[in-house]
């Protein structure tokens, strides 16, 4: 069974016809050619497919495209303002927070989600005072970024980059 959907992907309106069992990740990559989100594990365990859905970080491998009709999707490719990279992308470059780069688009989108959530005062499980403001310590960053794996092990530099991005 097919379904007709419309997504706004990185600022461009895209209409497409999908089998209703197509994941959002496959629709982005194979249907639209938006290849920034990566298919790592395809089971919600690695975070390489993370994008922003209506501004919130989300994995795309365990959700069907048809359920996201009308959604604003921002992939890592859509973060830059023209030639100017997003500050989090700049921080990843500055801190050398990658080696092979496969997980990086997901890491960057996730990091932006982390910064927004912390700014909104949302606690994490390592936040001592659930009702107070959030200070993005390295422990906080590590906990909040735990949904993004990096097989190259660039974690130390990723924590640095997210910390820089918070400034």
């Amino acid at each position: 069974m097919d379904g007709e959907i419309e997504l706004r992907v990185d600022g461009r309106r895209r209409r497409l016809r999908v089998d209703t069992r197509t994941t959002l990740l496959d629709a982005l990559r194979d249907g639209i050619g938006a290849n920034a989100p990566k298919k790592g594990c395809d089971h919600g365990q690695c975070g390489a497919c993370t994008v922003l859905l209506d501004g919130r970080r989300a994995i795309t491998c365990l959700t069907f495209a048809v359920a996201h009709d009308g959604t604003e999707v921002t992939t890592a490719e859509g973060l830059a303002d023209g030639e100017r990279l997003h500050p989090v992308q700049e921080a990843f470059l500055e801190r050398d927070a990658l080696q092979c780069g496969f997980c990086t688009p997901g890491q960057v989108c996730s990091a932006i989600g982390v910064l927004d959530e912390a700014a909104a005062g949302h606690p994490s499980v390592v936040t001592e005072d659930l009702t107070g403001p959030v200070e993005l310590t390295d422990d906080e960053i590590r906990e909040r970024m735990s949904g993004n794996l990096c097989r190259c092990g660039a974690y130390v530099a990723i924590v640095d980059a997210v910390r820089d991005g918070a400034r």
């Binding site: 919600g44 994995i59 909104a120 659930l130």
Partner: protein, 328 residues
Amino acid sequence: MPFDYRRAPDPEGAVAAATGWPGVAFLAGGTNLVDHMKLGLAAPDVLVDISRLPLDTVAELPDGGLRIGATVRNADLAAHPVVRRDYPVLARALLSGASGQIRNLATTGGNLLQRTRCVYFQDLTTPCNKREPGTGCSAIGGYTRHHAILGASAHCVATHPSDMAVAMAALDAQVAVLGPAGRRVVPLVELHRLPGEEPHRDTVLSPSDLITSVDLPPLPPGTRSQYRKVRDRASFAFALVSVAAVLRVEDGVVRDARIALGGVAHKPWRARRAEDVLLGSPADEEVFRRAIDAELAGAAPLEGNGFKVPLTRNLAVSALRELSREER
């Protein structure tokens, strides 16, 4: 195989669309169901998408409690100011589950109905009574690090994976269900089943029963709550053992104690025997130990998970000690 995807206009429409289809499944966040469809564990022929139903709000009830809509995202529930202030056990349980980008998708109802992470259940090449009734249990005599020590049967030793449900069990949550015959309320502690001879049935719900909301009763002033979880890595892992504890101490005496254990049984395990020992007793370490030992007297560990007995004891005592200290 024919496959049908439908979007329901309202909760009644969702139930009507699901009624009469044995192969139906409600789709909300999808983080467990879609994975199971990929793995071949689930092959629904009708998906009823409930993700856009107006069940996505958290409302304060006149009695001081909270009504949580079934499609409220786990992240939104954990961030809700009233949950953070009045139900820290629930906020911490939610925040200790999955990852940030999964909690933004996963819903309240879906979290309750997620299925076991038993490795044999998820592996189509091994017998499993939960997946294929009557084929046997591969975990018994197998790798049982993550399996049950309480309430298991000769047919299944799987554990329920949710953190959120453990906190809700300790909070005496009530689950509102809309089914073909109308509305009913199921206490959360009665929603999930013990495996018995029918481990393929996780809950008392039928496929066309839709969870619409979960109510949390108010906690009396002075009540403290805490969620503690032990896992194999520091983050983004299911519990080996977890403890949700709700405690009210007055003048050094326990006046209210509600404890639920996670990672130890086929359902969130409400520790009634421990609560009986605690109620009316002095809030001291000796009592805490005696209470949890009374609960664990019924434990039947398997070859690979005997560690869960002392781990549960230490975790529960530690949680109670912390809560009783806060009180002073």
